[in-house]
Each structure stands twice: as C-alpha cells, then as structure tokens.
C-alpha cells in the first residue's frame, strides 16, 4: 500500500511546484451528547453530577496529504467516508481537532453556491452580499459586477428580487460570483452541473481555463471516470482515513477492485 510520503509524483505538476494544500495528521471529531441536552439548566445539573457523556465520531483520522500548485487532486470513497468533511477543513469552515491544515492562496469553495443569498433582496444586492461573504471588498465587486451579471445571464433581472429568479438563475449567479476571479485553489464537491446544458459547458470551460492557468483543484466525486480524466492524483478515503493515494488511474482501479 502506498502512503503519502512514497506516493508517485503528480502527472502534471512538477515535483518542485510549491505545495498549496497541506494536511498534516488532520483529525476531526464530532461529539454528540449521548442524551440530547438542549437546555442549559439540565446541562448544569448533569455536569455537576459528571453525567455528560458523548458519542464520539471521528470523521477524519490522521489525514496526510499534499496538493501541489496547479495540480488537480481527486478524492473518492464511499458515502460517509469523510470526503465532505475533508473539503470543509480545507475551506476553513471546520477547524480540525488536531493536526494542521495549510492553504496558500485564495480559495473558491464551490460547495455552497450563493451562500448567504437573501431572497428578498435584488440580484444586484445579492451579488455584493455574496461577494463580501467570499471576502471581496465592495470596490472589488463593483469592478467585476458587469462581468458577473453577464456571465450568469441575468442582466434583465438584476434589479428584481432574488425570489423571482428560477432556481437555475440563482445557481448561475452564485457560480458567477464565486468564479469571477481565478482562485489559487478551487474546491469542488461532485462534478458541477450548474443550470442548463449551455451554462454547464460554460462553467466547465471556465474551470478548465483556471486549471490551465495554474489553479489547484481539489474535487470530491463519485464519478470515477471524471476523476480519472480530470485529476493527476487522487486519494481513496474510507472511515476517515486515507486508504490509497497516488496517480488517479491507479487509485480508482484499486477502489473499484476493493469496493467490488
């Protein structure tokens, strides 16, 4: 079995390229009180009696991996293996219980498109709000506003409340805001299917352009063909630990053999 240190070098990224995503011995534990204790009063009583017990669930156990600049890295594994938790740790949403996560550069998480959208506000206001949530200044959004709206194809509706948009339009707008600037790191959960076929092509082309320009991509997918095609390397994750890591083709083959 290959471990992280003896993993084969990436197909595309040169070994000298700078590591952009580094996970060292990263663990994430969810602690759920064994009895649901919703009230402060009850908690204090139980705590005084030393009766607070937890069910522990390790979503990630000692994960080590490194993704170098410009590399596309796939994460595969069965449901509940910890793939989404891994992405959240890299996206800074969850801080690991132990271990170290390092990410260099701006991260565009395509996990939740349009996070924080307020459906009572207009499309325009939501572009600003969502942009600010992703860490842009107001000025930076203003400069990019026209391009964002055009790419999403919502120009006629930009001053209408978001609740009047179709769900496709909402997702398109979210994608356009998140990807207007080429990020250093792109986090993708499942192969993107944004909006209709035409926008699907447009968004895939944009991601491809990012990749060519040197964006590091971390993607989780159940589509093994897509992982083999898009990614140089991949990791097979199961029960919160890395089972295999190496060239995408090899890992996918082992996964298929192992998962039967």
């Amino acid at each position: 079995m290959l471990t992280a240190s003896e993993a084969a070098p990436a197909l595309t990224a040169s070994a000298s390229a700078q590591p952009v995503i580094q996970l060292e011995d990263v663990s994430v534990r969810y602690r759920v009180p064994r009895q649901r204790i919703p009230s402060f009063k009850e908690y204090m009583i139980r705590w005084l009696r030393r009766e607070v017990e937890y069910n522990e669930f390790w979503a990630l156990k000692g994960i080590n991996l490194e993704v170098r600049q410009g590399e596309a890295f796939g994460v595969i594994g069965p449901n509940g293996a910890g793939k989404s938790t891994l992405l959240k740790v890299v996206a800074r949403v969850l801080r690991p219980i132990s271990g170290r996560v390092r990410v260099r550069g701006r991260v565009a998480p395509l996990l939740e498109l349009g996070a924080g959208f307020d459906f009572e506000l207009t499309g325009r206001e939501n572009v600003y709000l969502n942009g600010a949530i992703l860490g842009y200044s107001r000025q930076a959004i203003s400069e990019r506003f026209e391009r964002i709206v055009d790419f999403a194809g919502v120009r006629e509706f930009v001053d209408a409340p978001l609740r009047t948009y179709s769900s496709g339009m909402v997702v398109r707008l979210g994608f356009s805001v998140a990807t207007d600037v080429r990020p250093e790191v792109l986090i993708v959960d499942e192969v993107l299917q944004v909006g209709d076929a035409e926008f699907g092509r447009k968004s895939a082309a944009r991601i491809e352009a990012f990749r060519t320009a040197g964006t590091t991509i971390l993607m989780v997918s159940h589509n093994l063909t897509a992982v083999t095609k898009m990614c140089a390397r991949a990791a097979w994750i199961e029960h919160g630990a890395v089972r295999e890591i190496g060239p995408a083709g090899d890992v996918v083959r082992q996964y298929q053999a192992g998962a039967g």
């Binding site: 009063k41 996560v101 701006r106 600003y128 709000l129 949530i133």
Partner: protein, 276 residues
C-alpha cells in the same frame, strides 16, 4: 484598473491569540459588516408597511403608557417625566434589542458558518450596528418631545457620542457572551429574556433612583447598566456631565463586558460550525 486582491494564507495551526486574529479578520470583512447592517434595515423597510416608523413609534407608545401610569406619582421629583422615561427607554431598547438580535441571528442565521468561512463575530457586530442606526432614529421623537414640553436642549449633548460608545461596547460584550451560550443551549434565549425583564425593573428607567432608601442607593452600582444609564441620561435630561465615579464605573463595565465577551466568544468560535 482592477484592485489587487489581498493574498490569503490559512494555517489552522497558527496560534496567534485568537481574540486578536478575529479582530484582524473582522477588519478584513468590514464591507460585509456594513452590507449586513444596510440589508437588515432594507428588508425591514420592505416587509412591513410601517417600516422605520415603527422604530420611532415603539418607544413613544411605551413612553405614553408609562407617563399615564406614573407621571403624577413622580411629578414632585421629576419634571417633564416623558423626557426622563423616554431617554431611559431608548437606552434600554438599544441594549435589549441588540443583544437579543445578536443571539437570534447567530442561532438562526448561523447555518452560514457551516457552509462558508466568515469571521464569527460579524453577527454580533452587525447587530450593534443595526441598533446604533435605530438609536439614532429614535433621537428624533425624543427631541420633538423635548421641544413640545419646553425641556431645554442642553449643551451637554456633546457627551452623547461618548455615552453611546460606552453603551455599544457594553452591548457588544454581552451580545458575544450570550450568543456563545445560545449556540450550545437553546433555552438560553428564553432565560435571557426573563432575566432582562427583571433587570428592567431593577434599573431606574421609569422611576427616580431616590425612591430607594438613601442607604440602599449604592446597591444600584451592582447593576452594570445603572452607571451606563446615568452617563447616557444625565447630559440629556439634567444637562449635567456625570461625575467621575459614574464615568469610571461606566467605562469599567463597558470594557469588562467587551473583554470577557470577546474572549469567551473567540475561544469557542471554532466549535460553532460543529454545533449550529
């Protein structure tokens, strides 16, 4: 030309003291704070017909009720009772609305924290921002009442920014502390509501402090809101600059609340995404 985007680096193990790191992050996201405050006000305008009028009307109605009930009782000690009570109510509304709003936005709107990274203090800070806008608006009916009753507009109004700053600091500290608790226990919001109701009667808002026996007045100092209220009300109502002891106590309450609240909140903030 387009603005250069700042270079971002994330290291989960970088152990800068987290209270300080949060401050830096909040500054980086300052435009988001401003947008959140504007959006709260915008959506309130859109959803209700009365909109901002309600913000102006609410303390006035409360004032009217309390005036009818108590003004003759306290008329010997308090001239222009409506001015006295309205000033107190504006102070009180700011405090309770801000803290309650901060707790509720974190508990109900905090799902966002499970989906994307933003500085966690942003909910409490925008809640204070929203409260400040409302406070500013409610100064309009106050000044109108003062003009109608012929209560002098004292030169000591210049103290207002100081008083409001202290009050806002205190409210931010309490907001942060209470919302930390509220994330972990759902009944905290209810307990807090009952608690503030009791505190309302323990704070001399609708009665003068001299209705207490003289040897017990010092007990009011145990209520951190008391000195803050004095700093807020004396310049408006009496045209006096509060004494050094009152000022010092108010500054102490505000700073202590902020330090404790900020510390407790940032210490626990990394767990929020696991709990919300």
């Amino acid at each position: 030309m387009t603005t250069e985007l700042p270079l971002v680096e994330y290291d989960s193990a970088a152990r800068r003291s987290s209270p300080l790191a949060e401050l830096v992050e909040l500054f980086r996201y300052r435009d988001l704070v401003q947008m959140m405050v504007t959006n709260i006000i915008k959506t309130r305008y859109k959803r209700s017909a009365l909109g901002v009028v309600w913000t102006l009307l609410n303390p006035l109605l409360n004032m009217a009720v309390l005036t009818v009930a108590f003004s003759s009782l306290f008329s010997s000690t308090l001239v222009h009772y409506p001015v006295y009570v309205l000033t107190g109510l504006i102070f009180w509304n700011f405090f309770t609305q801000t803290t309650m709003y901060a707790m509720n936005t974190l508990v109900w709107g905090g799902g966002l924290l499970k989906r994307v990274y933003i500085p966690r203090t942003i909910f409490a800070v925008s809640s204070v921002g929203n409260g400040l806008v409302n406070l500013g608006l409610s100064m309009i009916p106050l000044i109108l009442i003062m003009l109608v009753l012929g209560h002098p507009l004292h030169g000591t109004w210049w103290m207002m920014p100081v008083a409001v700053l202290l009050l806002a600091t205190f409210a931010l500290g309490v907001s942060l502390f209470m919302s930390t608790l509220a994330v972990f226990f759902t009944d905290v919001v209810d307990i807090y509501q009952v608690f503030t109701q009791a505190l309302f009667f323990l704070t001399p808002i609708m009665y003068p402090k001299n209705i207490l026996p003289a040897n017990l007045v010092w007990l009011l100092n145990l209520n951190p809101l008391y000195n803050l209220l004095e700093v807020f009300r004396e310049p408006i109502y009496l045209g006096a600059i509060p004494g050094n002891h009152t000022l010092a106590a108010a500054v102490f309450s505000a700073m202590a609340a902020l330090v404790i609240g900020w510390w407790a909140f940032t210490r626990k903030a990394d767990e929020f995404a696991y709990r919300l």
